[in-house]
């Protein structure tokens, strides 16, 4: 009986992990396919499709666009989120609870709604569809996240540290730059890398708000319209690899903070 329970639980565990990871494994495996179709039997391994991706100007420029949008929008989101968190944590504001709720609200709104809203707004304001517009969209979705992460780490014990700096003659901007930012660095980096991860594979907003120059997820979608081939697998694997790097960086900064 015991034996049976053990076997069943192993089978169950394998099934769960298989369900989660099999698509990714298949994606990565057939990106190494030597022939033209990403279907069994496996004929690789071969890096010819990665070569094809890297020599495809549209894909590589989309990859660079994605990196630019992700890093600039994340830096903006984390800066604004930090300043918001600092303001809410250090000053008594009228309706502070309500305002904090409003800032974090976009976390619960679907990307589709945010994308459509921005599309209408930009149309009305005369802002053309562009990477800038998509970047602004990414700031909108990531700012609440950065705010929430940083605000949760801004404890009262830092108030006296800031006071001490002021007491020793530091003007307010130096207090922020030399004391608050370094002390908050783990939360700030965590917010930055998580924003990067979300911006990196965000599709809906980028799809709605870009036209000629576009980000990698949108470009992959374009590619998929002409049918599956190992090139899509290869570019998908690249996206996946970058995501993993970002998530690992996020986890590392978070872990380092817990230990400290």
């Amino acid at each position: 009986m015991r034996q049976l329970v053990r076997v069943v639980s192993w089978v169950y565990a394998l099934a769960v992990y298989g369900f989660i990871f099999l698509p990714v494994v298949v994606l990565v495996l057939f990106s190494l396919q030597a022939t033209s179709f990403p279907i069994p039997p496996f004929t690789g391994p071969s890096l010819r499709w990665y070569e094809a991706v890297l020599s495809d100007v549209r894909l590589t420029s989309a990859l660079v666009n994605s990196l630019l949008v992700a890093s600039i929008s994340s830096a903006t989101a984390v800066t604004l989120g930090f300043l918001c968190a600092w303001g809410f944590a250090r000053f008594v504001l009228p309706g502070s609870g309500l305002l904090r709720g409003l800032i974090t609200l976009p976390l619960t709104v679907s990307y589709l709604i945010i994308g459509m809203g921005l599309l209408v707004l930009f149309n009305w304001a005369g802002v053309p569809k562009s990477l800038l517009a998509a970047g602004i969209g990414h700031v909108v979705i990531n700012l609440p996240l950065c705010f929430a992460i940083i605000y949760s780490q801004m404890g009262d014990h830092q108030i006296n540290i800031e006071r001490a700096a002021r007491d020793l003659g530091a003007p307010e901007w130096k207090v922020l730059l030399l004391i608050t930012v370094p002390v908050m660095a783990p939360a700030i980096f965590a917010g930055f890398f998580l924003s990067m991860t979300f911006s990196w594979d965000e599709f809906v907003i980028s799809f709605l708000l870009t036209r000629f120059d576009t980000t990698l997820p949108v470009e992959i979608w374009n590619l998929l319209r002409s049918g599956l081939n190992p090139k899509t697998n290869a570019v998908g694997s690249l996206v996946f690899a970058v995501s993993i790097v970002l998530v690992v960086l996020f986890e590392l900064t978070l872990l380092r903070r817990r230990k400290a």
Binding site: N160, R163, A165, R166, D167, A185
Partner: protein
């Protein structure tokens, strides 16, 4: 007449509806060690925050070195604060912490490091220059905070319960060092505490606070021997308090009727006025030798051996609600349940106006 270093004039402060300071005036002399002593909620920390510039008083003015500093922010005041939680910058080395104030003044790196090392040597931590705050013990962090505040040579150093987070032994040790450091640098220290032993050991000038007011101030010896109010008689050390009424007044003496019987005191008081008499535990005599003032009989309720002395609690036979607190030699043979005569010397009775 020279102006005092710090002159607090009629300062009141409210947090919302709550009045935490009520018309407080205080002068602090250069080079003095002042202790603000009081229970929590007495307003002592608020007063310190007002001196540091972290709180603007609702009313009144603060002058430091003759200048009106009431609205001057902390950064531009000649004061520095040692915070209760030390508030060291965790991402900077000890040297970086101590040199921070000089860095803000635009002092170059070499001078800064030299002065920071000097300040660390002053607090006995010369070797910690390159360490990070988290590598230090509580007592060492305390010293770093002290060095960091002293290195910019403030006119007044403010210490907010600086020894509160340390264990008893370390606290007594740091206490001696604080006094020694203060003597060496000659800066005026203003130190907030609720520990009366700390206050007596450190203060040149002891300020007893309660409920937003200054109850008593002066040299700790005077405050202990002749407390001005009932509160300071019981907060700064223990006292037995006898409430009574003046029944007879002489030239230089009066007779006060108390629950323990009539007591003669050496001061002229108006007949009929209510007074409180305070007697320090070490001045009460139980059984054996009798003092010049008899205080009736009492039943011993508790004897606690405390090493160098025995602390005895006894209830008056005449009025059981009256509790005598006495300090007897460790050799005393008194036991709980004994009924003994209580007395003291007339000179040792402190008269408090009620």
């Amino acid at each position: 007449m020279t102006a005092p270093l710090v002159d607090i004039r009629a300062v009141s402060h409210r947090f919302g509806q709550l009045a935490v300071l009520k018309n407080v005036s205080l002068r602090i002399e250069p080079g003095s060690y002042t202790i603000l002593l009081g229970p929590s909620g007495s307003g002592k920390t608020t007063l310190l925050s007002i001196l540091g510039g972290f709180v603007m008083p609702s009313e009144g003015k603060v002058f430091i070195r003759g200048e009106d500093c009431t609205a001057v922010p902390p950064a531009r005041r000649p004061t520095t604060t040692v915070f209760q939680d030390y508030a060291l910058f965790p991402h900077m080395s000890v040297g970086g912490n101590v040199g921070f104030g000089l860095r803000m003044q635009g002092v170059d790196g070499t001078t800064r490091a030299a002065k920071a090392r000097e300040a660390l040597a002053l607090v006995g931590l010369a070797s910690a220059f390159d360490k990070k705050p988290h590598q230090l013990s509580g007592g060492q962090r305390q010293r770093v905070a002290l060095a960091r505040a002293l290195v910019i040579e403030p006119a007044v150093l403010l210490l907010d319960e600086p020894l509160g987070a340390l264990d008893l032994k370390l606290r007594r040790q740091m206490q001696d060092e604080l006094k020694a450091i203060q003597k060496r640098v000659g800066t005026a220290f203003i130190h907030v505490t609720h520990d009366q032993e700390e206050a007596m050991a450190l203060a040149d000038h002891c300020v007893v606070m309660n409920d937003g007011r200054i109850e008593d101030e002066g040299p700790p010896e005077r405050v202990y021997a002749r407390p001005a109010t009932r509160f300071s008689a019981t907060f700064m050390g223990e006292s037995t308090i006898l409430a009574g009424k003046v029944t007879e007044a002489g030239d230089r003496t009066s007779t006060v009727s108390t629950p323990a019987g009539p007591v003669l005191v050496r001061s002229a008081l108006p007949v009929g006025s209510a007074v409180a008499l305070a007697i320090r535990p070490e001045h009460l005599m139980l059984g054996g030798a009798a003092g010049t003032a008899s205080l009736g009989m009492a039943k011993v309720s508790d004897v606690v051996f405390q090493g160098s002395f025995k602390r005895v609690l006894a209830a008056s036979v005449e009025d059981p609600s009256l509790q005598f607190i006495a300090k007897l030699p460790a050799t005393a043979t008194l036991q709980s349940g004994d009924t003994v005569a209580v007395s003291c010397d007339t000179d040792q009775i402190i008269v408090l106006a009620d």
